[in-house]
């Protein structure tokens, strides 16, 4: 069975089939969740931002001009929610605590190494300025083009390229520092 495309699901929702929205949520949940999690750093806050983005997207679906690009439009909403939630979360102490079960239960040395490496990456990412982290994640992790990122963030392409360059330089330095501790 062929899954309905975004545009078809949006059309159904607009026609009153609220249930069709569940398919869109399931389709984008994990991918957008990954961005929110990396951007905010706290799972609970990230899930809150994600949930909020889905609800806002549903309520403003009439303003989604190109249903074919629902995913990109949803990204834009999430980027904004992450900025708001991230700023609020930054006022609290940003703490990365990896799942203790995962760490203690790492029976194999390579698994323990992987958990440790993931921790190094999380901490390095957390040290980036939010605008650097945002540009880096959208470009290199979510694989968006600079023009798409410019549309989502409102920043110019040259500014974004500079942010990504700085993010790369800083990440390299932060990872080296963490590995030499």
């Amino acid at each position: 069975m062929v899954e309905a495309g975004d545009a078809e699901l949006v059309r159904r929702i607009r026609a009153g089939d609220i249930g069709a929205y569940a398919a869109l949520v399931a389709r984008y949940r994990d991918r957008l969740g990954r961005y929110a999690l990396h951007m905010i750093g706290d799972r609970e806050d990230a899930e809150e931002a994600l949930q909020d983005a889905f609800v806002r997207a549903y309520r403003s679906l009439a303003r989604c001009d190109d249903p074919e690009r629902f995913g990109a439009w949803l990204y834009g909403i999430l980027v904004n929610r992450c900025r708001t939630t991230g700023a609020r979360a930054a006022r609290r102490r940003r703490v990365f605590v990896r799942d203790d079960d995962a760490i203690n239960g790492a029976a194999h040395p390579s698994q323990a190494d992987r958990v440790e490496w993931a921790d190094v990456v999380d901490r390095a990412l957390a040290r980036l300025a939010p605008e650097y982290r945002e540009a880096f994640l959208l470009k290199h992790v979510e694989d968006l083009e600079y023009e798409e990122i410019a549309e989502l963030t409102g920043a110019g392409v040259s500014a974004l390229k500079m942010r990504v360059k700085r993010a790369r330089e800083q990440l390299q330095r932060f990872v080296k520092e963490a590995e030499h501790v």
Partner: protein
């Protein structure tokens, strides 16, 4: 050259780590669907008496003024300043038997933040 290669390696390893799939609790789907099934909070509906609001406000203010005389002295002798906080009002006038209930004779002026004010001369006495 080696340093550049080193940077590429570190950043590429970071990117590979960050690209690993993340699993979000599926309970989120139910929370979203439950939330959207609820009607969004609407701004307060326009009250049926909105049209008469300025008059009611002015009348209430005047009644209060007559009973309690809480006004402050204006800057001129025999001048009294009336102030009303009515952020939703489009226009406000002070009416009473001192101006033949004519709104055109004592319009209140919007100051800021929903504050309306006017200064009128009044001889000592009791007014409605």
């Amino acid at each position: 050259m080696f340093e550049r290669q080193d940077e590429e390696d570190i950043v590429e390893r970071v990117i590979r780590e960050l690209r690993r799939p993340v699993s979000i609790d599926r309970a989120l789907d139910a929370r979203v669907m439950s939330e959207i099934a609820r009607p969004p909070a609407q701004p307060a509906a326009r009250r049926p008496f909105a049209r008469v609001w300025p008059w009611l406000a002015a009348a209430a203010l005047l009644a209060a003024a007559v009973i309690a005389r809480p006004w402050s002295r204006g800057t001129r002798p025999d001048a009294f300043q009336f102030v009303l906080i009515a952020p939703q009002a489009a226009s406000v006038a002070l009416v009473g038997d001192f101006n033949d209930w004519d709104p055109a004779r004592a319009p209140m002026h919007a100051a800021r933040d929903g504050v309306w004010a006017t200064v009128i001369p009044l001889a000592p006495g009791r007014y409605r």
